[in-house]
Symmetry: D2
Subunit: 106 residues, 4 copies
């Protein structure tokens, strides 16, 4: 995400004085609520979906994720790279290739 998009997200909350509602716990609730609205786009049909609706709900997930990063003072590249290192260790290419099994079943 570009810095100006991140700044727009931050300014939106600041201007409305919403930081008071953005406890880490409330933001975690908000992420799961929006993620479920995203899933609702596929509730009865996996293949025929409303792409405009998906864009809105996925954007909501991303915005609240940015809010939580900000609230906790986290760096997105740092936490994602740390997790990718874990994932790469748990799912070695030669064992995981082409399989959807969980790491403890590989």
């Amino acid at each position: 995400m570009k810095q100006e998009t991140i700044d727009r997200i931050r300014r939106f909350s600041e201007e409305r004085d919403w930081d008071q509602f953005h406890s880490p716990s409330n933001l975690a609730k908000s992420i799961v609520i929006e993620a479920a609205e995203l899933l609702e786009c596929f509730q009865w049909d996996d293949d025929n979906y409303d792409i405009e609706h998906i864009k809105e709900e996925l954007a909501d997930v991303i915005v609240y994720s940015q809010n939580l990063l900000d609230k906790l003072g986290l760096d997105v590249d740092e936490i994602v790279n740390a997790k990718m290192s874990q994932n790469e260790a748990k799912y070695p290419v030669d064992k995981a290739k082409g399989k959807a099994d969980k790491y403890d079943k590989l």
Copy 2:
């Protein structure tokens, strides 16, 4: 997120031939599953949380969100800015300031 972090996420799936599992519907399920694991960090206590655990679960949400952006060929800045325009219109500063009400109750 830096381009090299995004590239690492993409390479991870490509090397494991996991694109076959990454249907939009499966990725939407995955986002909500990880979002609920993030929420679990706050299940019984809103204020005392394991920050290391939160970092991992939030990273998972972000990684699957990136996977879904990629799968659907979406541009993160475009969809987030479009949604922020909607949010700014639905929650005018003078009506929404300091209130957590939904837009239809403002």
Copy 3:
């Protein structure tokens, strides 16, 4: 659910003095957390699932739903019948038959 099963659920919490953790909000979080674990049984494959795992996760959803009914003093038959009356009005048989559309699109 039989009365003796409901009683067992209640006794389990009482004996452990867990009512203090069972705020309505925490129980709502718990229901969504367990529902996402249930969904995880279908994360990458809709058709090949571990029925024993599903039984456990669905039971968790039902147990926390009973906890929330108890916490709020709600009668399950009353709330379900009230909702079914709404559903029957929103989805008339002649309009909704064989269609998965939401009521506002029928």
Copy 4:
């Protein structure tokens, strides 16, 4: 839940020919979607909630849980009692009393 309430839930789907949409996977999605709508009642405030809204969303969770029990031919008392036996073993009263820790941290 009374047998007549369960019968009403079943009749509702049968009359609308909705069994075709009620795959186990779609019902699992539906449970998490409704559970997140229930959580939304507590999104920004744990203590001031709209009880009528909660009743509707909790009823939705219970209705879809009943649909999934039916779809998979499961007996609610059997699966709940099996899970309660597990819970009682994992959380012995003397260790778990008054604590919200997960069993592997007791």
